[in-house]
Symmetry: C2
Subunit: 210 residues, 2 copies
Amino acid sequence: MKLYGYWRSTTSFRVRIALNLKGVSYETIPVDLVAGEQRAPDYVALNPGKGVPTLILEDGRVLTQSLAIIDYLDATIPEPPFLPEDPFERARVQAAAHTIAMDIHPVNNLRVTAHLKSRYGLAAEDGIEWFRHWMTEGFHAYQALLPANTTFSFGDKPDLADICLVAQLYNAHRWGVDMAPFDRLLEIEERAFTLPAFDAARPENQPDAS
Amino acid sequence: MKLYGYWRSTTSFRVRIALNLKGVSYETIPVDLVAGEQRAPDYVALNPGKGVPTLILEDGRVLTQSLAIIDYLDATIPEPPFLPEDPFERARVQAAAHTIAMDIHPVNNLRVTAHLKSRYGLAAEDGIEWFRHWMTEGFHAYQALLPANTTFSFGDKPDLADICLVAQLYNAHRWGVDMAPFDRLLEIEERAFTLPAFDAARPENQPDAS
């Protein structure tokens, strides 16, 4: 498979973790979001949302949207599963994952902050405050959704929620979110990075890292 | 079941459509987002994300996040299915659904525009322009993801993508998005509202509509 992504994109980071956990080898094709490569016509033909990631399957078929890609991987490569089998437990894990994937990430997306700056004149420091605000709100909600006494978010193995969490925490560190209220999330992150699948997916380990 | 929601919330609208399509009768418990009821401690105990919807199952268990709730309904009540069985087709429908649920809706969420106004001084008309901008971008992407010659988004029956689309179109009309480029989306909407499940879920048909 081929993964179009960007080293610092947290949605690309999610899919890298998922591919690694499933044991899929893939080729990285960097899309430089800062240079605007996601708006090049050839790329938009693959990904009309002008975002990353985009996954090209072995037969050339194209998938977009990180959580849809991860669902495909989970449906076609059963082990290890990313969601519990029980419908209620499955929905609980997804609710936590979506607290990050819907309530934090889209609002902090590069295209949103770029638009805030170019159209409404927000200063760079306002952009950083913006990032911190939504992450702090979202991490409180995420932490409140977790059951007690688990080593990862919902059990003793990483799942879809952990994939979203660990990727988002990269941004939290990058933008200096005060993590004092979120000890439990940092413990999950530390545990995740002892696994090669998470470690190899780190932004700084990608070929386009600079 | 009991559904905590708000008549104009598009995520509540999604879950109402899903409940109706699955033939689930439910009680509506209004949460007045404009009055800030989503931040009341009793409600936050149910929904730490301080959002709607929240679904209370018959046995009292609680689910949050609209797409996680819809996944639960689809897993426990198989007919009619909201996603195709084939993993690739399933991921394609989800990608379109997420184009709305991740790329449009979170950025246009009431809490985001309220924060833009209170913290950064955006004027009311800037807020409307903000809504229109993200919907226009997202609808172009959504429309480009659709296969040719379907009556609903991906086939001849409504699925998860249609649920997200129809709910979002309510906001598009409300905020005056120029729909000229989106004839196909309007045709899907018109077809959907011929179905009682969609029609009964309309914001104006809810007990808290004003």
